[in-house]
Structure formats: structure tokens, C-alpha cells
Symmetry: C2
Subunit: 200 residues, 2 copies
Amino acid sequence: MKDVPISYQEAREQGQQVLMDTLLRLATNVIVNEGAAALSMRKLAQMAGCSTTVLYNLFGAKNGIIDALFVDGFRRLETAHAALPVSADPLQRILDLCLAYRQVALMYPTHYAIMFGNAVPDYTPSDASKQFALKAMQPLQEAVAAAMEATALNNPSAAEMAMMVWSVAHGFVSLELAAMFPHPERTEAMYVAALKRILR
Amino acid sequence: MKDVPISYQEAREQGQQVLMDTLLRLATNVIVNEGAAALSMRKLAQMAGCSTTVLYNLFGAKNGIIDALFVDGFRRLETAHAALPVSADPLQRILDLCLAYRQVALMYPTHYAIMFGNAVPDYTPSDASKQFALKAMQPLQEAVAAAMEATALNNPSAAEMAMMVWSVAHGFVSLELAAMFPHPERTEAMYVAALKRILR
DNA sequence: TTTATATAATAACACTGTTATTTAATGCGC
DNA sequence: GCGCATTAAATAACAGTGTTATTATATAAA
């Protein structure tokens, strides 16, 4: 299988890595099938056939595992974005990205909840993980920068229009509370601008 | 103080009502100052000077308390909306409502997290509470119905534009996951329409 | 081979929501 | 006013949580 001898240190580190991967895969199975609340250290340890001490050695704490799932969720987003054929129409490009965004969110709602919805109490993403999250949203940013031109639009009903406005409000505020905006002093102006835009 | 005699039954019910109110006020203090994760049944019982059994008699379970806080949050939203002077400009009216929305969310982030952010694991609002939530958003719906005309807009930067698009996407998806949309089959069309609108 | 070190397992601590059991207090008929 | 039935509250327990101190066990170095 492998004829290149590796040092004991390397072997141990490699073993740790694959162990971490399998543990994260097990954790993913749990949160996908049973929700984030069903993920406990004891259960995960039991599934892996080890003690909880190993988990604490590898991940520091439960939040370390959640943090790994956090970046895993954004990695799925990144992958979905990367798999998209780049449309010639800039507006279509943005819509494609947002549709992929929604698709990933609906396919992995628990990941999405961990990413934005406070699925785990007392968890906040680390700075490195938050940076990874912003990096995963970069294609959208680039697409918007490449687009910047408009298309036609049809008139929705008042009720649907209200839901759109609510969506903007809620989305904006949620991201703000999650500290996803790089320039907090610009947030309110952007908020108003977005609302004006959605209102035709 | 009160010269109208009330039956024992009424007195007990009245006592229960004020007890529930004070308990909810205590619970609000806890989640505002220490977050939703810090709210435990034992702590709340200890603060009130009673046993946890009383809490279960009054609210059924912890989710009953959370549910009361859920409608309490939307009641604050309702109050803030009601306190607004009704602007003559329909677009300004909508902006006022959304700004009040944001203000309430930022002032009571833990309530907001309970309302939308899954702050408490395994809690989902009851049907009655969800209906109350939609009722609290009715002024926005009415304002949009009354408006339906446009205003001018200035051009934001690409980065800010991207954040706006992200906000729409996230807000939409979050509300969808929270089952706040009355017509699920229309959601995707509304989603695309909102995105097109935000893109000018 | 013996010693030092790092790793994993066991068991415990301080919590959590919830509930069964016991205890106290209350309202009602006589 | 007294005894009984019902209701409510307190105690304590159950099953679970994240985390950690302690113990034992392998592994690596001398």
C-alpha cells in the first residue's frame, strides 16, 4: 500500500487527521439526520468507538467541532458556487449563485442553522472561520461587480411585495447581528438603499 | 384597594396571571442580560422564590416560557410599529417600519434570536404564536399595499451591492426555513423577483 | 531495559429539562 | 367548626449534557 516509510510523528499526525475527518463525518450525519441539538460528545465518542477525551484532545471543546462544521457548510457553498457554469448574462450569473445558495441552505438546513441561525447555544465562529465564510461569498461579490446593470421586472402583489421587504429586513439584520458586515458604520445606509431598491 | 369581592376561582386565576407576568419579566431580564442559553428552569424558579413545579404547572414546559417570550418579542415589534407617526410619503412609511423593525431587533437581540434565530434548541413556535407574529407584520403589509410606487436611487459600490444581495438571499431563506411564507409554492418565484428588484 | 512522556479511558463534577413522589394547604359538605 | 377530598407546591430523583481531574496505559527516548 505504502512503501515510503513515514516517521512516527508523521504517522500519528496522519492518524489524527483521518480520525478528525471521520469524526466530523459522523457528526455531520448526526446533525443532518437528527439536528444539531442531538449532537453530544458522548454520543459522538460512542459512535466512533472511543472516549470523549479524544474529542477534547482533537477539537479542544464541542465548539471546536461545531466550528469545523461551520466551515464545512461554507465549503459546500463554495463547491456549489464553483460547480456552476458561468453564465454570459451577468444578472443571470447572480441569480444562479443565489439559487445555488438557497439550494445548499435547503439541502443542509442544519449546516445553514449553524452558519447563521445560532443552532448551537454559546457558539460563535472563530475569526478564521468567519474569514473563510466571507471567502466563500466572494463569487457573489465578483458577480455583482461584473454585473451592475439592470433588467426588466414584473409587478408582484402587495402581500408578496411585503414578504420581499421583510426578507430584506430580516436578512440584513441577521447578517448584521452575526457580525458579517465589514463596515458597521455603513450598515444603516446600505440597509436603506437595499429597501429602496426592493421598492422599485 | 378593591371593594368588589371576587370568587376564589377568579382570585386564583388572577394570582396565576400576575405570577406568570412576573416570571416572564424575570425570564426577559435573564435573556436580555445573559442570553437565552443562560435561562434555566431552576434559576428562574430560584429568582421567583418558588419551585420548578410551579413553572411546569403554569407553562407546561420550558418551551412554553420561550413561546411566551416569542410573542412578547413580536408584541414589542407591534408596539414600535404602532408608535410610529404615519408618514404621508408611502415609501417613507415603509422605510419607517423597517427601521423600527431593525431598531427593535438590535435593542432586543435575544428576543430576535428567539423569534428567528433558533436561540433555543428544539423550540418551534406554536401555531397561535406564529399567527401572532404574522399579525405583527401586518402594518408593513398594509404600507406596501398603500405604496406601490417608486423613488429614485443612488448607485452603491459593488461590495455593498453584494452585501445587499446576500441579505435578500439570507433573509428570504431564513424566513422560508422558519415556515413564515404562507404560500410555499410561490416562494421561489418571489425569491427570484426580489433578487431582480434589488439588482435594479 | 528503564525512565519520561503523551495519550486514552474511567469516573466524577456541576449542570440541564423533566417528572414521580411526598408533603402541605386549600375548598367543600356536613 | 370539623373531617374529607382535591389541588397545588416542594423535594428528590432520573436521564441527560459539557467538561475535567485522575488513573491507567501505551509509546518514545536514554
